[in-house]
């Protein structure tokens, strides 16, 4: 080590605490600077798309969300929406609002977990732990409403599985109040911290044009200044009937991405509060879909915490799909974006976990 002009190869992950889950990188270092990165995927490949071909419409729901632990609910909703699109079914209004509450709680929980991730990478674990307490409250809420903490099985083709338990609105509002208070504290402690600013401002910059060319969606694209959000651009469920804004950044650096995510949490809280007021417990929550699906295609696009996610189902009439295609949100973030930033900017080995955390990828999402 130390020979001039000689590059050193280092393996980063999948066991490294700075690695975003079960994924590895092979890094070529020139001194401290990373000059090349090669992603090593496949540690969590389970073949979900193929497995879904051997299971009926309702059985595949339990597979549809298992490749993103942090943010499973939009994936489950997307699969349910795609099946409903295939059946050309219209679900009850209550189901739409419950799904919105579910998706937004999942987004908040995911961003809370991300705070812990970036807090750990920048050495600010103290505020990160407060964020985890808020996430814990959300997981407890899911455990109370849906029966499980992480994988919820709430949305199924045809609607949602559970009616409103007693005191649903009160408890949900209580959780939201706790989350909002905690997020404000975390935001103050994290975003105004000079160490955090020094580590993130100006690091990992992307322009809107570059982000679009690299196939980026979600908060990373919005941080570059483009207000693109599927919930606004092509509203699904009842997102066109609630008021919310799409937060955007301007510089497109790591700090802006963090700012956008914090603002998104507040917007999600706003959406949940509005959706709660529109629930009607006397109306049904679910419709019965036929067992056999017609021949055709079903497509659903949803906005997850990491960007646009797509489910495409092809049916040749029957109880099982002919083919299911899932569009990963983290694929561009972990491959092209990381390589592009490393080539165009001076990223050191100490910056690398912060860069990965600011992109907030979900490694199993890449493997599926």
């Amino acid at each position: 080590m130390g020979d001039k002009g000689k590059l050193v190869q280092v393996y980063f992950g999948p066991q490294h605490p700075g690695a975003p889950g079960n994924i590895g990188y092979k890094l070529w270092l020139d001194g401290e600077r990373i000059v090349r990165a090669e992603v090593i995927p496949g540690f969590l490949h389970r073949g979900f798309e193929k497995m879904m071909e051997n299971r009926t419409w309702e059985m595949s729901i339990t597979l549809s969300y298992r490749f993103c632990v942090e943010d499973p609910d939009p994936l489950e909703i997307a699969y349910a929406l795609a099946v409903e699109d295939l059946f050309s079914a219209e679900i009850p209004e209550n189901a739409k609002y419950i799904r919105m509450i579910q998706a937004e709680f999942s987004r908040i929980a995911s961003h809370m977990f991300w705070i812990h991730f970036i807090g750990g990478s920048t050495g600010l674990r103290t505020p990160a732990y407060w964020a985890v307490t808020a996430r814990e409250e959300i997981l407890k809420w899911f455990g109370w409403y849906a029966g499980h903490r992480v994988y919820h099985n709430i949305s199924v083709p045809g609607g949602v599985r559970y009616t409103l338990p007693e005191g649903f609105i009160e408890r949900t509002l209580k959780v939201l109040d706790f989350v909002e208070k905690t997020v404000k504290d975390v935001e103050k402690a994290l975003m105004r911290n000079s160490i955090f600013k020094a580590r993130t401002i100006g690091m990992g910059k992307l322009s809107t044009k570059e982000a679009l060319e690299l196939g980026v969606t979600g908060p990373v694209l919005r941080a570059t200044g483009m207000p693109y959000d599927i919930r606004k651009a092509r509203p699904y469920l009842n997102y066109d009937k609630v008021n919310f804004e799409v937060p955007t950044g301007s510089a497109g650096d790591s700090y802006d991405r963090c700012r956008v995510r914090f603002q998104e949490i507040y917007q999600s809280i706003r959406i949940i509060r509005e959706s709660l007021s529109k629930l009607d417990p006397s109306e049904p929550f679910r419709i019965k879909l036929p067992i056999v699906a017609p021949a055709g295609e079903g497509i659903a696009r949803v906005e997850t915490a990491r960007g646009e996610y797509l489910v495409h189902i092809v049916s040749t009439r029957g109880r099982q799909p002919y083919r299911v295609r899932l569009r990963s949100t983290s694929m561009p973030l972990l491959t092209t974006v990381v390589n592009y930033i490393i080539e165009n900017e001076e990223i050191t080995i100490a910056d690398f976990p912060v860069l990965l955390a600011s992109l907030d990828p979900c490694a199993p999402d890449l493997d599926r």
Binding site: I61, T62, G147, R192, S194
Partner: protein
């Protein structure tokens, strides 16, 4: 400045700890909808294998249990492998005879160091906690007319199965 972090940290320092020790025998996590260990009502089960067919994890298989079962002449009952089960409750939802339901026994209550003990024979699927998730609860999300129709069908279905088949 790091003052904002320190100021907030002091605020949180005086609060009581949020974390709790797990596993603990008292103050277990409970909820009304918890999907935990299964209950099998052997007197209601007809051995139709619907639970086996809808299980996405393929953790249910049908085994023979000797005895006098007037509604189950082939004496076939579901055996559930808890090490594979995802506790999705599809078996509860699709059981035509209301024979399966779930309890709030979950997590640390089901932990074992002996892997062979995760395979639950039909006789072992007894209530080890409070019954939380039943078919009726899952049917209640449908429109009342459909839920009632389905429930009546279940009842009629169970009556139709006479001791002579």
């Amino acid at each position: 400045m790091v003052l904002s972090t320190i100021k907030n940290a002091i605020k949180y320092m005086v609060k009581k700890p949020y974390t709790r020790q797990v596993p603990r025998k008292d103050d277990k996590y409970r909820s009304e909808n918890l999907r935990g260990a299964h209950i099998l009502y052997m007197d209601r089960c007809t051995g139709c294998s619907m639970c086996q067919r809808v299980c996405p994890a393929a953790c249910i298989d049908m085994v023979v249990v000797e005895g006098d079962w007037p509604r189950n002449h082939r004496k076939r009952f579901p055996r559930i492998d808890h090490s594979k089960c995802t506790f999705c409750a599809l078996c509860v939802e699709y059981c035509p005879f209301n024979a399966l339901s779930m309890t709030d026994a979950t997590g640390f209550e089901l932990f074992t160091t002996d892997k062979s003990r995760t395979l639950k024979m039909p006789q072992d699927l007894k209530p080890i906690g409070k019954e939380t998730l039943t078919k009726q609860k899952l049917l209640s999300s449908y429109a009342p007319s459909y839920a009632l129709k389905k429930f009546v069908e279940t009842l009629e279905g169970s009556r139709k199965v006479s001791p002579n088949g």
